[in-house]
């Protein structure tokens, strides 16, 4: 369980997060949504431990985040940043290998790296140079690296977590589905996922919980069908539009064509 207790964050004098609280249970996927600048990424950074909190606290499996050392944290959660610039000519295999060396000792590093690349649909890419890949391919390589670091959803008798910052933002539709299914599998294996998302429809399809933010506060949270409403779309995103329900899956969806701003 990741518990976020009433956290606030100030960045260069500006209050960016204000009293944000929610829980992430193992086995579930929580998506953080909201307009640009609403504090989604900042929330994720606060949970990953890289930002200092001005108030509140975060606990991961009952351990206070501020008391965990970096290498202890690295065994409990993996983080996928929005985009990663690599300054030296690493091969794909070497980037993925960075995740391996962050993980607890494994007996078959070679297999693990191959499996991770396969999982993100990049089998056969290990000998390519990272910088020569497209943005979407680079993002999937980084996810493979994180999957090597957090090789199983449960480890040392504890659930582990994936923190994903816009994991599908630069992917084609097929790979969006691949990656969301991968995250879903991680949940079904007993781990937890927190993802910052822009695509509300994908979120509604895959997330168990939706945390909707605006201006550094949570405006609504709960199951996607409860959070994603006509009123919320107008109040949070400033889009007057109808939220419909796809009959086959019983999930809500929005059509941008139907919006008026």
């Amino acid at each position: 369980m990741i518990r976020v207790y009433d956290i606030s964050v100030r960045l260069s004098g500006r209050q960016v997060l204000n009293g944000v609280s929610f829980d992430v249970a193992p086995g579930s996927m929580t998506a953080i949504v909201g307009p640009n600048g609403s504090g989604k990424t900042t929330t994720l950074k606060a949970i990953s431990g890289e930002l200092a909190l001005s108030a509140g606290r975060v606990a991961i499996n009952g351990h206070d985040l501020s008391r965990l050392r970096p290498w202890e944290l690295a065994l409990k959660r993996g983080v996928l940043p929005q985009a990663t610039v690599v300054s030296f000519p690493f091969t794909v295999r070497e980037i993925v290998g960075l995740g391996l060396s962050a993980a607890a000792a494994t007996t078959r590093p070679e297999r693990l790296a191959d499996e991770a690349l396969e999982a993100v649909d990049l089998a056969g890419f290990s000998g390519r140079f990272y910088r020569e890949l497209s943005g979407g391919e680079q993002q999937r390589v980084q996810l493979a690296r994180v999957l090597c670091q957090i090789s199983a959803p449960v480890g040392d008798g504890e659930p582990r977590y994936l923190l994903l910052d816009e994991p599908v933002s630069s992917l084609d539709i097929r790979h969006q589905l691949t990656i969301m299914r991968l995250a879903r599998q991680f949940c079904e294996g007993g781990g937890g996922v927190i993802a910052v998302m822009h695509d509300l429809n994908l979120t509604a399809m895959f997330a168990d919980r939706m945390v909707m933010m605006k201006a550094g506060r949570i405006r609504a949270s709960g199951a996607p069908r409860d959070v994603l409403t006509d009123d919320a779309m107008e109040a949070v995103f400033g889009c007057r539009m109808r939220v419909s329900v796809a009959p086959e899956h019983d999930t809500p969806f929005v059509l941008p064509q139907a919006a008026s701003i």
């Binding site: 990953s48 970096p70 290498w71 944290l73 794909v92 070497e94 960075l98 910088r131």
Partner: protein
């Protein structure tokens, strides 16, 4: 690697390399570089104006020749007190410069960082000059306490101050700007040189004699005393690098990503900055500023074995030492019996090389 035939080994290296795993290749290259370093070291001892051939030296070392045969007493002195310390110092300083370059490039996430280019060497020179000029006046009792270490210590402090300042200026929010770093480095270097100029201006005649060799950058003054002064500091700095390697690998993805992967980033940066300052400071204290080794060596190695610091750092130490001894052999044989300052040779090779990296990598470095 033992127990397999050469074709088997080559096949295995090639297979791993195709799959993007250059670690086996890197280990192989390190073994080759170690052999090369040994060979260059031996060659430099038997090369020079005086005649002390390889055969004679070996016979003497084996204890086969009588005192007056093969190697004259003069040759023995030349070898023991001139060439050997020179080769040892060359190996140490070359390793220090190349490894400092590699560590700094890793830390700044940019292949153009080099202690010589971004003012760290100038800062170290200033520290050493301060030690010389103030050493015979205001700070005399304090410096007497440190003995032969006073100069390396002064250089270390100067180098450390410059590196810390540079990092503060060029890094904001965990990201280092290449352009800011290079320009700030030029400014800091110029400032350090200006202060050094003032100190030279107020120095007395004796101090001036001590100061003149700073500008040159040379191994010519190598002695066992200098090795005793700089050697331990350089070795200590080199000894930290195995502990830095994994962190420097992780930090190439950015400071946040390194933290996510379990690296205590602040501690990594502190140790890296300390060892760069120590290695550069000690080198500058005994040899003056020798430029470009820290750029050329790591870059060449990255082309072959890749940027993994676990292999890059030891390989850089070996190749740096080898290249500096080689450059020194050139320096003392091209215009023999006179000598060129070694800095001229490293600059002739290094400066065009630097421009080549700059032009090739412009798009990657945001310039």
């Amino acid at each position: 690697m033992g127990g397999r035939s050469a074709p088997e080994l080559a096949g295995e290296l090639l297979h791993a390399w195709r799959r993007g795993d250059r670690s086996r290749l890197a280990r192989f290259v390190i073994v080759v570089l170690a052999a090369l370093a040994l060979a260059t070291f031996a060659t430099s001892i038997v090369t020079g104006a005086a005649d002390a051939s390889l055969g004679n030296v070996l016979r003497w070392l084996a204890g086969e020749a009588a005192a007056d045969q093969g190697l004259s007493a003069r040759d023995r002195i030349i070898i023991l007190d001139i060439r050997l310390p020179r080769a040892v110092l060359g190996m140490l300083v070359g390793a220090a410069l190349a490894v400092s370059g590699a560590v700094m490039q890793g830390l700044f996430r940019n292949p153009l960082a080099d202690p010589g280019l971004v003012g760290v060497s100038s800062g170290a020179s200033l520290g050493a000059v301060l030690a010389i000029v103030l050493g015979s006046a205001a700070l005399a009792p304090l410096l007497a306490l440190f003995g032969v270490y006073a100069l390396p210590l002064g250089a270390f402090c100067g180098g450390l101050a410059t590196t810390v300042l540079l990092y503060r200026i060029a890094t904001r929010g965990g990201q280092t700007s290449v352009a800011t770093m290079l320009l700030a480095g030029i400014a800091l270097g110029a400032l350090a040189n200006a202060v050094t100029g003032v100190l030279v201006f107020i120095a007395d005649d004796k101090q001036l004699r001590d100061l003149t060799f700073w500008g040159l950058g040379s191994l010519a003054g190598a002695s066992w005393t200098k090795i005793a002064a700089a050697g331990p500091i350089i070795l200590l700095a080199l000894a930290t690098t195995p502990f830095l390697a994994r962190g420097l690998n992780a930090i190439t993805l950015g400071e946040a990503a390194a933290f996510h992967m379990g690296i205590p980033v602040q501690r990594l940066k502190n140790i890296a900055i300390l060892s760069v300052a120590a290695a550069t400071g000690a080198s500058v204290a005994v040899c003056g500023g020798i430029g470009f080794v820290g750029i050329v060596v790591p870059h060449l190695l990255r082309l072959v074995i890749g940027p993994d610091h676990r292999y890059l750092l030891p390989a850089a130490a070996l190749l740096g030492g080898t290249m500096l001894i080689f450059a020194d052999m050139l320096a003392r044989t091209i215009v023999s019996p006179a000598e060129l300052p070694i800095g001229i040779i490293t600059a002739f090779v290094g400066a065009p090389f630097f421009l080549w990296i700059l032009l090739r990598g412009r798009s990657h470095m945001g310039l």
